[in-house]
């Protein structure tokens, strides 16, 4: 077990009464509750924690937040394996097992670090210039190796066993950021009477105040405000929660991490995504410190100044004993002060000629060596920094060190405010980008507006908190927050001009982009920041360039001899920090991916050996096991039984629509291609609807129940579309028609009894009803009651047999189904499934989905005759007459009969004329097939070019995927009972 040799005896916000064990690359280490993995690693003296993307350079911990480019680790194993996690954001958990990445065989010795030697060749975009030969396919080979070398962590391939939840939430005001600005904004808004949600990604509130001494004025300010906020029950504090994106409709995407300390409660979500709809949003997201750019600035032991201070004051870790602080601004000096006070030997190298006297005096008091007009030009050391070469007024000199703290100034965190396309605005005095104009309901405060000092942030936050509240109509007086002065002097930052006379000076640490790469991109004309990004991959890593964006574009601005605002930034996109895809899906996984739709007879089907089939979201019986060993055996048996005796089919999935009103008949007359006005009460009619473009939309039957009342059925697939279409026409096109349409699809259980014995079965089942052919002829309808439930019997046939569609109130569906089977047993009534249904309709030549494919017209489907006489004025009538839709060689419906023994037809086979070469698109295709017990061979429906579709002649059906070629004869699509005697007999 390592000792925490860098941990200070006292101070910090860690819970020393709660020691925690974890391991890193198999090595056991200790830390405390309240640590991050990063702070614990530092406490244990681990400086080398990762390898870079391209050159596999050794890397340490740069930051103390989500901007971390280097310290990425993998947690978990198997289904729980999660790569690329910044150690700086991981709340230390007892038993945590972390692995470093992108190295082999080990972090200390990584074979691919030889890439470093090839660095001269691996310049930005080198791969665009080579790997093109010797053959066209060469890239396949090179790519194999390139892919292996690229990528960072390795993901697991097993399913994720954990649970996620997506929530919907609402608030008056959402405040993003729990630093001084956000806290004081929340306090003000709550006091004003608003419902407030405060979002903080860290597991502690306080933001940069957490970098202050844990026993100082900042801490007491924090405690006081936090207590105040907890006293409002209108305030929701969400810690461990990242606002990952702002979306249209003022929807904020939040992802919340489960409290990582302590074991998960069973069934508890690992992460929760919240879709928060807020009336007003306050952004208080702070600022991210910029690195400085000099040779070998990526060595382990180089850290952002504010991060070092955070490790010292928040985590009681002093990451170095011999420290160089280099910065072009006042803020970073406070790191030097605190480190010196903690006992480190500190040198400050400030490029400015004359740093403020007050700072110099304080430094002297603390025994800090101050070097003005001095900057670092190079660093030494491999896996840990050992020393620096500095350049000062009197030339270059060397200095030993084990930690370098740098600050190139700050970049306001304007990611979220840019998500909705509002371009950030350059603010000269802070040399940084702040949010562009806000819409009336959004506000910004504190460092993210460029108002860096805590005192200003607090004042700022209070002001916008009040404004946001009054925007939401809440304006109770809000007392001013107590003051906090950290004695910060925030001077204008002196731009850090990237310099790299020798060695590699990194701008994007993770993507290994150096100043040389930027120069090359510029030289080759990739000088737009967007080209720079795409050519060098700058800012495209897991950190999305949070630290590299500004240094890079200021470097490019310098090369272009233009200004930073002219050069501009790249586009900020969600998510602000990466989000697990599982969290976005929440519980809509596995069976819950899409809801199931079940018919009233569903359980019966399962209990009686049905093999079920997904049809859209519906579950339908495909076939019944007792009918045969497999589907092919079963469907033929079920077909035979329908033709010889009778079958029972669950057709509850049909779309069902109730139409009523004085103008219902007129309406139907317009929406169907065939007429309905003259349909008699008590009769049903098959109808076809067209789209406005004249293509067939859907078919079904509609029954006239009364003068002003109709009952329409649609195909299962189109049910919702048809209803919406009817409503559309009534609401927008013909509002004068007095018609009401309502879906009754769920209202009715529907089943069809088909077969020669169907009437006898109905007679037995409904002794009280008269279902004689006189009372209920073909296409007739009857209404009645069964066991107190409404009952409708329509005499319709899809199979070509005498058949009845029986509709009963859904709650009685399963009872009636069983009752019919009971009554039908003497007549061999057996259930049949979707496969047999399809086969029966093919034998009868009825078109369905495969023929109504969204490209066929009435005439193509042989239904042209439905439009009798000079009928017009129905939907689609005009455009269906377009020349291409009337062309004589259009493919139209024919029947095909296999004329080669032992062979079969297949749907999807392409049709050619005998003797013609099987090439191209053929003259048509087979759409549906079945084995026909009637004909004793395979028959099928096909769409075949009209100019060759003459009955009696032959075609060749080619199916290359099975190397099949079979001859077929063109026949009438109606293979069974063309006169329709069975319907009556």
């Amino acid at each position: 077990m390592n000792v925490q040799n860098k941990r200070l005896p006292g101070g910090g916000r860690i819970d020393r009464s709660y020691p925690v064990e974890f391991s890193f690359d198999g090595q056991k280490m200790a830390g405390y509750r309240g640590d991050t993995l990063a702070s614990a690693l530092l406490a244990n003296g681990a400086t080398l924690v990762g390898r870079s993307f391209k050159y596999h350079r050794p890397r340490g911990i740069l930051s103390a937040g989500p901007e971390e480019p280097n310290a990425l680790v993998t947690l978990g194993t198997a289904g729980r394996r999660e790569p690329n996690l910044p150690a700086t954001t991981l709340e230390l958990d007892d038993g945590m097992v972390a692995e470093s990445q992108n190295r082999w065989p080990s972090l200390a010795f990584d074979v691919q670090s030889v890439n470093g030697l090839f660095a001269p060749f691996l310049s930005a975009g080198f791969y665009y210039k080579t790997f093109m030969g010797p053959t066209r396919r060469a890239w396949k080979v090179y790519e194999h190796f390139i892919r292996k070398a690229a990528g960072l962590g390795r993901a697991g391939t097993e399913p994720d066993p954990d649970r996620y939840v997506v929530r919907h939430a609402f608030a008056d005001i959402t405040i993003v950021g729990g630093g001084p600005a956000g806290l004081s904004a929340a306090r003000a808004a709550a006091a004003a009477g608003a419902r407030v949600t405060l979002i903080e990604q860290d597991f502690l509130l306080g933001g940069q105040l957490l970098a202050e001494r844990s026993d100082g004025t900042a801490a007491s300010w924090l405690n006081q405000v936090e207590a105040e906020l907890k006293s409002f029950e209108t305030v929701t504090l969400m810690k461990r929660t990242s606002a990952f994106g702002i979306y249209d409709g003022d929807v904020i995407g939040l992802v919340e991490q489960r409290d990582q300390v302590g074991p998960p409660r069973t069934g508890e979500a690992r992460q929760t995504v919240t879709m928060l709809r807020a009336r007003s949003i306050v952004f208080a997201t702070g600022a991210i410190e910029r690195p400085m750019v000099f040779a070998n600035n990526d060595r382990p032991g180089v850290m952002l100044a504010s991060a070092a201070r955070t490790y010292l004051n928040r985590f009681a870790v002093l990451p170095g004993r011999k420290i160089i602080v280099t910065a072009a601004n006042d803020g970073a000096w406070r790191t030097a002060f605190d480190c010196a006070a903690a006992g480190a030997e500190v040198t400050v190298a400030d490029p400015r000629a004359a740093p403020p006297a007050a700072l110099v005096a304080e430094a002297a008091r603390l025994g800090i060596t101050v070097r003005a007009a001095t900057r670092i030009v190079d660093l030494h050391g491999g896996r840990a920094v050992r020393g620096a070469t500095l350049a000062g007024p009197d030339g270059q000199f060397e200095a030993a060190c084990d930690l370098v703290c740098m600050s190139g100034g700050w970049s306001p965190t304007v990611h979220l405010t840019s998500h909705l396309g509002i371009k950030p605005r350059y603010r000269e005095d802070i040399d940084g980008f702040v949010p562009g104009a806000f819409p009336a309901n959004r506000f910004g405060a504190g460092a993210m507006m460029g108002n860096y000092a805590a005192a200003d942030a607090i004042e700022d936050g209070h002001r916008v908190g009040v404004e946001a509240a009054s925007f939401c109509g809440k304006s109770a007086p809000a007392p001013a927050p107590s003051k906090l002065d950290l004695g910060e002097t925030v001077t204008t930052m002196l731009r850090d001009v990237p310099s790299a006379q020798r060695g590699k000076a990194f701008v994007d640490f993770q993507m290994d982009v150096t100043t040389k790469d930027i120069e090359l991109a510029h030289r080759e004309g990739y000088e737009s920041v967007e080209h720079l990004k795409r050519y060098t991959t700058l800012g495209m890593g897991t950190d999305q360039g949070k630290t590299s964006n500004f240094p890079a574009l200021s470097a490019m601005a310098a090369l272009r001899r233009s200004t930073v605002p002219e050069t501009g930034t790249t586009t900020f996109r969600p998510p602000f920090t990466p989000v697990a895809i599982g969290a976005l899906a929440g519980r809509a996984t596995g069976h819950h991916f899409k809801p199931f739709r079940r018919t009233p007879m569903h359980d019966w089907h399962l209990a009686n050996g049905a093999d079920m089939l997904e049809v859209g979201v519906w579950m339908r019986p495909w076939f019944y096991n007792q009918s045969g060993a497999d589907v092919n055996e079963a469907y033929v048996a079920e077909m035979r039984n329908v033709r010889q005796a009778a079958g029972l089919m669950d057709i509850s999935t049909l779309g069902k629509i109730d139409l009523q009103g004085p103008d219902a008949a007129t309406f139907l007359d317009r929406v169907y291609a065939n007429g309905f006005a003259k349909l008699q009460v008590g009769r049903a009619r098959y109808g076809v609807m067209l789209r406005d473009d004249g293509i067939v939309f859907d078919d079904g039957t509609t029954t006239r129940l009364a003068e002003n009342r109709f009952f329409m059925t649609t195909s299962t697939a189109k049910a919702a579309d048809v209803l919406s279409r009817l409503e559309f026409l009534l609401d927008t096109a013909w509002p004068e028609l007095r018609v009401a349409v309502a879906s009754v699809s769920d209202e009715w259980a529907a089943m069809s009894v088909a077969g020669p014995k169907s009437r006898a079965i109905l007679a037995a089942a409904f002794s009280s009803l008269d279902i004689s052919d006189e009372a209920l002829p073909h296409m007739g309808a009857q209404e009645g009651e069964w066991k107190g439930r409404a009952l409708r019997i329509l005499r319709l046939s899809y199979s070509g047999e005498r058949a009845y569609e029986i509709y009963v109130g859904a709650t009685a569906g399963e009872r009636l189904w069983s009752h019919l089977l009971e009554a039908g047993r003497p007549f061999d009534l057996k259930p049949y499934g979707v496969e047999a249904l399809g086969a029966l309709r093919v034998e009868k030549g009825h078109v369905a989905g495969p023929e109504i494919d969204g490209r066929t017209t009435l005439d193509d489907l042989g239904l042209g005759r439905m439009v009798v006489g000079k009928r017009s004025g129905f939907v689609g009538d005009v455009l269906r007459r377009r020349p291409a839709l009337l062309a004589p060689d259009r493919q139209r419906l024919v029947g095909l009969e296999c004329i080669e023994d032992g062979k079969r037809l297949r749907g999807g086979a392409i049709l050619f004329l005998p003797g013609s070469k099987a090439h191209g698109h053929g003259r048509g295709r087979i759409t549906s097939v079945t084995f026909s017990p009637e004909r004793g061979r395979y028959v099928g429906l096909a769409l075949l070019a009209g100019d060759v579709a003459t009955e009696g002649s032959e075609v060749v059906a080619v199916y290359p995927m099975k190397a099949e070629t079979v001859r077929a004869r063109i026949v009438s699509p109606v293979f069974l009972d063309p006169q329709g005697e069975r319907l009556h007999g």
């Binding site: 249209d248 929807v251 473009d693 559309f728 609401d731 927008t732």
Partner: protein, 88 residues
């Protein structure tokens, strides 16, 4: 999520609605025989980068067809009315 304020149900996520496309095109009378009129109605679109009058049906709600005025550049909704009462 766009938020669309249904005149009778209040503001809702747009996935409660079904999109119906450009509402500025005029549907010819049901018995208008002119192919050009139907061609224009079915196919020709102004497709403005800016204010767009469009149909939405509150299909998982009151089922009313609505006319929404929305800026296609930033999705700001400026008006929502019932299709029945709004004259296109």
């Amino acid at each position: 999520m766009l938020r669309i304020e249904c005149p009778c149900c209040g503001p809702r996520d747009h996935d409660e609605f079904r999109y119906g496309g450009d509402a500025s095109v005029r549907r010819p009378a049901h018995d208008d025989p002119d192919p050009e009129a139907w061609y224009a109605y079915v196919y020709v679109r102004e497709n403005p980068a800016g204010l767009h009058r469009e149909f939405w049906q509150h299909v998982i709600g009151c089922r009313q067809w609505l006319v929404v005025e929305r800026d296609t550049r930033n999705h700001v909704v400026s008006s929502v009315t019932f299709a029945r009462t709004s004259q296109a």
